[in-house]
């Protein structure tokens, strides 16, 4: 029969599962490296992409995010891919989306996990090979991956 103290301590661990770092935390440098890998080192222009994400994320475990890209989405002129990059998560490339003219509009929404307050980058790859991006700073009050939730 566990003592009252054990129950409370045990519940504490269960309630706040600890983090054991298993991967090097990301950094702006790793994010830049991931970006370069995606773009082949070529130029990235700011614009045409709108990253909609809360300025203050109430909980890093689920941050509602929308990326929209201005594009006619025709066979000759469309968005090929959208990538979301983090500078603070253990992984720099959070997700990649493959699109094409059959999408109709280049807009995708999902919930991200954000480890800490950081700049999030949405990168769009166009059919003409050009790259465009939007960047937003998100303050994360309760961190995913770190706060053990």
């Amino acid at each position: 029969m566990p003592t009252r103290r054990q129950i409370i301590l045990g519940a504490g661990f269960a309630g706040g599962v600890a983090l054991l770092p298993r991967a090097a935390p990301a950094s702006p440098e790793l994010r830049d490296a991931a970006l370069a890998e995606l773009t082949g080192g070529g130029p990235v222009s700011d614009g045409r992409v709108t990253l909609t994400i809360p300025g203050v994320a109430e909980n890093g475990l689920s941050v509602y995010t929308t990326v929209a890209v201005e594009s006619p989405m025709t066979t000759g002129d469309h968005v090929r891919a959208i990538h979301i990059l983090s500078e603070q998560n253990p992984i720099a490339r959070l997700l990649s989306v493959r699109l094409g003219p059959r999408a109709g509009v280049a807009r995708v929404s999902t919930n991200l996990r954000l480890a800490a307050s950081q700049e999030v980058t949405a990168l769009a790859e166009m059919s003409d090979g050009s790259f465009w991006r939007d960047r937003k700073t998100v303050i994360v009050t309760i961190a995913a991956c770190i706060d053990g939730g």
């Binding site: 475990l61 959070l94 996990r113």
Partner: protein
Amino acid sequence: MSLAPARVSMPAEAKAGDVIEIKALMRHPMETGYRVDSRGQPIARHIVRRFSAEYDGEEVFAMDLTQGVAANPFIAFHTVATRSGELVFSWEDDRGEVVTVRKRLTVTG
């Protein structure tokens, strides 16, 4: 994962050329692999790696996911209504398990 339900919400009917919005929600822990349990044992990573939508003979949307996507992943995207037929949505995780949902779209005009 075979018991995990997934839900796809989309219109049942559309006019040819309409852009329809599809919302996909899947039950999955998206366990990061960074956590330890109350005994200090690491909890193994278990995440969805890929989501795709196939329509009218072609993959019209795909997402590569990582631990950076929240648990019970939600994905909203669009596709152009071309012909009546079945859309097939698939989620594949890092254990090779696949969940599939099929939805019928009736395209008029």
